[in-house]
Symmetry: C2
Subunit: 243 residues, 2 copies
DNA sequence: TTAATATTGTCACATTGTGAGACAATAAAT
DNA sequence: ATTTATTGTCTCACAATGTGACAATATTAA
């Protein structure tokens, strides 16, 4: 949340009072997959050492889900991504205006933005996206956004570490439903690719034969022609996700 | 939501502006089990034919989860019940001030309560409670609260039917975790009782032998002495839920 | 007092699902 | 031509689950 603060290039009005619903924010945990590792998008506030999950606010006449998709599109350029709400964090203690004040001080004053110092509840989402498709936009003066390995994260402010942990737990327990893991891969992928995704999410090795048998048993993948990979072994089939 | 409106017995201040977080409500789907059927609590606004899920608002300095527990305690008298958040509904279209205005008109005016006509997002919870423990409190002038069979519900206002449907879907998919079904039963119950709960929730018959084997295999139930039921057959064991 | 009835606790069997290893196939390097 | 690494698939063992059967037993009926 609070990611478009102090962004001088966009009209100041969008951060003024009466543009967004008060007390309501969203935070998103954006998962990507690269180099056989699971990564997430983390934002850094300019002129500070504060790291946070990308998030934002909900326009007065904007659907909640639309607001989150808008925010993700602005940051990743991606539309039509896999996005799922998983929990709403509403403790009083999660709102720590001290952080916000420090961020504001570091970026030029508090006057207009007092509403952001009030208490917020945050609706949390997680997204699965194809790492290769993303073009991160360093457009905001107030922030930068980058990929981090899950096991090499900077410290996150607010309760964002707790949000991330719950996102990961939800992702793990939902992994089977509708083969959602394929959303982290390009349109064509090998069975090994998919197994790597599963192993990164679950944090454990899976048996190759059993994995293939189970996945193919779902009848959700379409098998394509083999593609000679250039590696010194039998070429694997390529698959795409159908339906 | 909106259940304590126009309740003349409690201090008017609690419904005035600046008591609750604006734009934020909660709704709860309260499941009970009786007569081998699944039931839910539905509220009716006085002087109207409007039925709704019980809900409420979040105090300015109140944790979200605490607010929901407070509301349920006020209505059912129960503390320490099984309660789980499952989704936050945030579409613009879900807020239909026409209903609220009608309810207000029927109960004495709009002046003080204009804030309730604005847009709300609602964090939805479901609760599982022991039907026999509940003493419904018809305390509010503005409402009454009663049990309804799941398949014999009045029409619900706002998007409350959608909320109920999603609650039921969540309950079904979470049913196995930690034997949550026992929360709908008294402290001592038979295996048949538990099977009835499962069948009511899942909407299908289960095989008696396989059910018993699976449940006992979890090692979460403690077996007690038999209790002669008075029925013309072998007496069943009683069980209680342990940890 | 005995037999009938309904339901319980448990088991045996068949079927299905899963974990583990084996083996031939094959693309590239040697 | 041989070696190497990985793939696709298979078989075996074992676990989990679906299904019906049986004896046990609390009450009712005869």
């Amino acid at each position: 949340m609070f990611s478009y603060l102090f962004l001088k290039k966009i009209p100041a009005v969008i951060l003024k009072p009466n543009t967004y619903l008060k007390h309501i924010a969203y935070d998103s945990v954006v998962f990507g997959f690269s180099g056989e590792k699971l990564k997430i998008l983390v934002m850094k506030y300019k002129n500070t050492d504060y790291y946070a999950l990308p998030g934002g606010f909900v326009g007065l006449d904007e659907d909640l889900n639309s607001a989150v998709r808008r925010g993700l599109k602005e940051r990743t350029g991606l539309d039509n991504i896999f996005l799922e709400q998983f929990y709403t964090f509403g403790n009083v203690s999660r709102s720590t205006p001290a952080f916000m004040e420090a961020i504001m001080e570091a970026n030029g004053g508090v006057n207009e933005y007092g509403w952001m110092l009030e208490r917020f509840i945050s609706i949390a989402y997680y997204a699965l996206i194809n790492y290769d498709d993303v073009e991160l936009k360093p457009e905001a003066i107030s922030e930068s956004c980058d990929w981090y390995d899950l096991n090499n994260l900077p410290e996150l402010i607010f309760d964002h570490k707790e949000i991330l942990d719950k996102a990961l737990a939800t992702l793990r327990s939902n992994l089977e439903t509708k083969l959602m893991g394929v959303n982290l891969l390009p349109p064509l992928f090998t069975m090994k690719d998919l197994q790597n995704v599963y192993e990164a999410i679950l944090g454990e090795k899976l048996h190759r034969g059993a994995f293939q048998r189970k996945i193919l048993g779902m009848n959700l993948l379409k098998r394509h022609e083999k593609q000679f990979s250039g590696a010194a072994h039998k070429a694997p089939f390529l698959y795409s996700f159908e339906k």
